[in-house]
């Protein structure tokens, strides 16, 4: 590992990457699912208003959920077909939302057709923003609608536009594949974002060991004469977290409740930048995305381009089925992803991957007393004392926990990953945060 690469200074860890068998697999288009489950809440904010009724016919890319409040975001139909029913479902992270169940049928109006590109240079920033809003683009990491993320309030300036290609979660390689295979589109997307936000400089940040992606991007930047820097950073988890990334790149910290903009930065995921390109240049709504489907319970691990709303069961089939029963099914990365118990959960705009983990990969062990070893504290990128917070929460001493910084926790999972006693530190802290924010806790 090259120690010359910069990274964030405090805490963090280097979990087993598990990427070597996945990262060189080219993205292929997953088969179109016979039944799509399209949640109307795939972003942070209010669910979109449902515009379709059962038995109604929908076209590919048709608007089916309309953003009626500024906090919401449009949802489009990923496939042509017939609406079977609209029903409330629970997303892996616990949100309840109406979802449109679409049975595949009819003709695709994009798939397999010629692709037209539309020039965007010279279009005004507000027009570009409304194009993003119309096509339902959201930040793939946070779920914040892209048009809100890129809208810079009057009087604020953006010093740095960061395209986040760090992808620090183990297993996940989708962003890496985009950087390798779609370097040109990605750079174009970054330039559109730059045209909107007018930053002092644009940077693509990636892990220093991803040399193939770095070279591909460097070559394209030269060809296109784009004004974008590439910054290779030392891979450490959670470098992909906005706060840590800004700290590593610019040395600036912003506190709880602050946003990247307080540090003069706007951060866009690689996947988001690609979606920006597709929305503006191809005028295509966000109905499909690249994800990694991995884990030793699968016969094949893959990077797939899937339609939003594809149920997990279809992905298992796409990957050759199970060779052993998974011990955990995870939507998202292994450090911050959510465990689900059935295969009907759909892919949403913010799903970065799906993991089917064998017992060996989890490395679970028996729970013991806290050893006071301090591994949690030394791995915490926020400078907290997770074991102390956990004990406060366990004893319902929420106010003490607040003073110790409970609400600063970014739930990156480092503490519980490192804990030899296998205490559910992150879960406990999350529960404490929910109580402090007025929820019921766990």
């Amino acid at each position: 590992m090259n120690v010359m690469w910069k990274t964030f200074p405090k805490g963090g860890l280097e979990p087993r990457q598990m990427k070597s068998r996945i990262k060189d697999r080219a993205v292929w288009n997953a088969s179109i699912p016979a039944l799509c489950i399209v949640p109307l809440l795939q972003h942070r904010g209010e669910p979109a208003t449902c515009l379709v009724r059962p038995r109604e016919t929908v076209r590919e890319g048709m608007l089916i959920g309309r953003a009626d409040s500024p906090d919401s975001c449009h949802v489009h139909s990923p496939v042509p077909g017939t609406v079977k029913y609209v029903e409330e479902i629970t997303l892996p992270w616990g949100d309840k939302t109406p979802a449109v169940f679409i049975e595949l049928g009819g003709e695709f109006n994009r798939l397999g057709k010629a692709v037209y590109t539309h020039p965007w240079e010279g279009i005004r920033a507000d027009r570009l923003l409304s194009m993003l809003a119309d096509r339902g683009v959201v930040g793939m990491g946070s779920g914040i609608p892209a048009h809100r993320k890129l809208e810079i309030p009057e009087g604020r300036t953006v010093r740095t536009l960061i395209i986040n290609g760090v992808e620090c979660e183990p297993y996940l390689c989708a962003d890496y594949r985009i950087m390798v295979e779609k370097a040109e589109e990605l750079i174009e997307g970054a330039r559109i974002a730059a045209a909107i936000t007018r930053p002092g400089r644009s940077v693509i940040a990636l892990a220093g060991d991803k040399t193939e992606a770095r070279d591909a991007l460097r070559k394209k930047i030269k060809e296109l004469k784009a004004d974008i820097e590439i910054r290779a950073l030392r891979p450490k988890y959670p470098l992909g977290d906005e706060r840590q990334l800004i700290k590593a790149l610019a040395g600036e910290e912003f506190s709880l409740g602050g946003t990247a903009l307080d540090a003069g930065a706007v951060v866009l995921n690689v996947g988001t930048a690609l979606a920006v390109y597709e929305a503006v240049v191809l005028q295509k709504p966000l109905v499909e995305k690249t994800i990694t489907v991995a884990g030793r319970a699968l016969r094949e691990q893959a990077n797939l381009k899937v339609r939003i709303g594809t149920p997990l069961a279809d992905l298992v089939e796409e990957c050759g089925g199970f060779v052993r029963m998974p011990a955990k099914i995870v939507v998202g990365g292994p450090m911050m992803g959510w465990g689900v118990c059935d295969l009907s959960a759909p892919i949403t705009k913010t799903t970065s991957g799906v993991l089917f983990l064998s017992p060996k990969e989890i490395r679970d062990s028996r729970k013991t007393n806290c050893l006071n070893c301090g591994r949690c504290l030394r791995s915490c990128p926020m400078g907290l004392q997770p074991s102390a917070l956990y004990k406060w929460v366990e004893h319902s001493a929420y106010e003490e926990a607040r003073e110790e910084g409970l609400l600063d926790c970014s739930e990156c999972g480092c503490c519980a990953y490192a804990c030899p006693a296998r205490l559910p530190l992150t879960r406990g802290i999350r529960a404490g945060k929910m109580v402090l924010r007025g929820g019921a806790g766990l």
């Binding site: 979990p15 450090m335 465990g339 689900v340 062990s365 013991t368 050893l371 030899p420």
Partner: protein
């Protein structure tokens, strides 16, 4: 799907290290030096180790039972404690001494505070110090390895004990502690003579250095001392493994050896040649229980500080106290006491030296 798959919260994966495999890997790294002790000191050493291990395991089982706690022997921590207690005993000590040491270690130092992870001092050291003051004579009667037995049967002594006795009189005639040992007839194995000659002829002399005789014995473990402390070589081999597996954090040993080494180098020569910067580092590192104590007791994850800066301070403290006791104390060495004293400060260190919170430091962006 037929089989139940649990809904779990993040993180979904874990590090290799678990309580169980940390404890058992420490245990297995301690076995080679312990067995070396049995090899050089013979059957009495093996008896001491067996007594300490069995009584420690027994005490653990009993305490868990009495506290209505599920049996915790599987986690390996009681076995590590038992083995460490035995390794810190003189080879010929009567069996009741390790028995009481183990029972005190587990019963008092560990379980009165609530068992694994709750104790504030290292149980094995607490046990050792308890019996040291209870049966001081038994705990300070040393025997020499069979390989060192000379014709004029010297009353067994550790190199440091031998030296301390000499320093009470006068050592100013000698240039170094090793020279004192040689001149006053501290025994040496045949292996040492051969190995030192070979090293000097083949490797060191071409480089312009010469190794005096005696050090090889210390390094390999032909000297008087506790059962488990004599073989620096095997202790260090285990340490390398534990450091590579990241079971041990290197901060404490580094700080400790750094402080101790610098102080010995500056002041260690004073009782001999009277000069500063003339201390005999090799002698002080490899004689006595410093290596065992620092790598396996000071780094005890339960009773050492949690933050990196805390660990460095704690390590420096252990190094400083070890140095003071060794050069100016009445006992030959005091790694055990140094660590116990620093254990007392750990809660304070943990309270004062904690990482700064992200986004709360001076100059950070405010909301």
């Amino acid at each position: 799907m037929k089989q139940e798959i649990p809904v779990t919260s993040s993180p979904q994966i874990h590090d290799d290290a678990s309580t169980t495999n940390i404890m058992w890997s420490v245990f297995f790294c301690l076995l080679p030096p312990a067995l070396w002790g049995c090899f050089v000191f013979g059957a009495p050493a093996l008896r001491v180790l067996c007594v300490s291990l069995l009584s420690s395991a027994g005490a653990e089982a009993l305490c868990a039972r009495l506290s209505r706690h599920p049996l915790t022997l599987w986690d390996g921590s009681a076995c590590v404690t038992g083995l460490l207690v035995g390794m810190a005993m003189p080879p010929g000590v009567p069996s009741y001494v390790p028995l009481f040491a183990s029972v005190f270690a587990i019963g008092v130092a560990k379980w009165t505070f609530g068992g694994l992870g709750r104790n504030w001092m290292n149980p094995a050291l607490a046990g050792r110090v308890f019996v040291y003051f209870s049966w001081t004579r038994a705990m300070t009667s040393w025997s020499l390895p069979a390989a060192l037995h000379t014709a004029d049967a010297l009353s067994g002594a550790t190199p440091l004990g031998f030296l301390k006795r000499g320093m009470a009189e006068n050592t100013a005639f000698y240039r170094s502690p090793m020279e004192y040992l040689r001149a006053n007839g501290y025994p040496r194995s045949l292996f040492d003579g051969g190995a030192t000659d070979w090293l000097n002829a083949r490797i060191l002399e071409p480089l312009g250095i010469s190794l005096p005789q005696g050090y090889i014995d210390f390094f390999f473990g032909f000297m008087g001392g506790s059962i488990g402390e004599v073989s620096a070589l095997l202790l260090l081999a285990g340490t390398v493994f534990l450091l590579a597996r990241r079971v041990l954090s290197p901060a404490i040993p580094a700080a400790c050896f750094g402080t101790f080494g610098v102080l010995i180098w500056i002041f260690g020569g004073l009782p001999f040649s009277g000069e500063y910067f003339a201390g005999d580092l090799l002698f002080h590192l490899f004689s006595g229980g410093l290596i065992l104590g620092v790598f396996y007791m000071a780094t005890d994850i339960v009773s050492s500080p949690v933050s990196l800066s805390g660990q460095i301070l704690y390590g420096c403290g252990v190094g400083l106290l070890s140095f003071l006791i060794r050069l100016y104390g009445s006992a030959p060495e005091g790694t055990a006491f140094a660590i116990l004293v620093m254990n007392v400060f750990v809660p304070l260190i943990n309270k004062k030296l904690r990482p700064s919170r992200f986004g709360r430091a001076k100059g950070a962006m405010r909301e």
